[in-house]
């Protein structure tokens, strides 16, 4: 479901993605788990959107480079670049609206 990214391939993956969502997460973070499961549900109705995840404890510099501050942060990828980001919790409806207006 998710493609795991690292500092080594994150930027290349973004540059290679037309439509996608990247979550910056850390282990043992309940809100991160919540958002990952929300994205899984969201992707059921949006199969054309690629899902990526980045462990911010293993790749803190990449997370900062993307503009992230705290987990979970959702990055919307459109036309090969990050166009929006949002930290915190969202439900699938809020995610849909966030993606559409990004």
């Amino acid at each position: 479901m998710f493609t795991q990214l690292t500092s080594g391939n994150c930027m290349a993956a973004i540059a290679d993605t037309e439509q996608g969502v990247l979550i910056g997460y850390k282990e043992l973070c309940p809100h991160c788990l919540n958002m990952e499961k929300m994205l899984v549900k969201y992707s059921k109705t949006h199969p054309d959107i690629s899902l990526f995840r980045l462990n911010i404890e293993e790749s803190p510099d990449t997370f900062k480079e993307l503009g992230g501050e705290r987990p979970p942060t959702i990055f919307v990828i459109k036309n090969n670049s990050v166009v929006a980001q949002k930290a915190g919790l969202m439900n699938p409806k809020e995610m849909k609206a966030f993606y559409q207006r990004s």
Partner: protein, 287 residues
Amino acid sequence: MTAAIYAAQANINTILLEESTTGGLVNSTNLVLNFPSKKAVNGMSLMAEVREQVDALNVPVEEICEIEHLDLTGGVKIIETDEAVYEVRAVILATGRKPIELDPPMDCDQIHYCSICDGGVYEGKRVVVVGGGNSAFDESIYLLNIGIRHITMLEIMDDFIAAKTSQDNLFSTGKAVGKTGVKLAGIHQEDGRLKFVVVEHCKTGEKEQIDADGIFVFIGQKPSSRLFANHVNLDPQGYILADADMKTSVKGVFSAGDINQKTFRQITTAMSDGTIAALSAERYLRI
């Protein structure tokens, strides 16, 4: 999840519907110390183990599930989610509790309710913790352990109600101070960043500023019972009134865990309730 395990073991066709992710508030607990068989365990890890057991029993779990309609009145209960409509003969309500938020709400990105989730960003910074119970002190110790530079504890009552050992553990670090008889009266932000909080002394009305980069709020929990308010009997605080067999006021509807009116709310007592609720439901279905 305990109720689902017992129900599945009793060969009851069971489905688990969860608004968020399985595990509830335990997921936000850094360290669980009183769980038999585990000397010390991270809450989320513990819940992951329980979930593995649920999955091993092939109980379907629908997470991030929005309940859109409930009809619990008849012999067949109808539960409509955003994905499906379920017609079942018995329901176990185990929706637990949620953190109480600041009242009045304050619009600030640096107000948090989960130290595990949001504490890391404040490494080397100063934070204010609102609350004076065990959760507030345990979470504050966790915050210091991950590198928060200084904590100011704010408690509206005249004394902290946390266990003395927890208070001693925190204040003996020399990195935390406590203020009682005070309330958070305001916040000041610059460019979307918290700069300081305004604290009001309840007796005198005197106000003071405390520099802070973030605020963590641990002022208790409230029952997640809004969905059932018109279906089963609740107490004035919103907790479900269930008997010793976890039966609610509606036939075929049982409830378990922190959502019930009770004195002690622990992981073990919630699991006990879940056990009883599932066994009661099994008996109800069999008779």
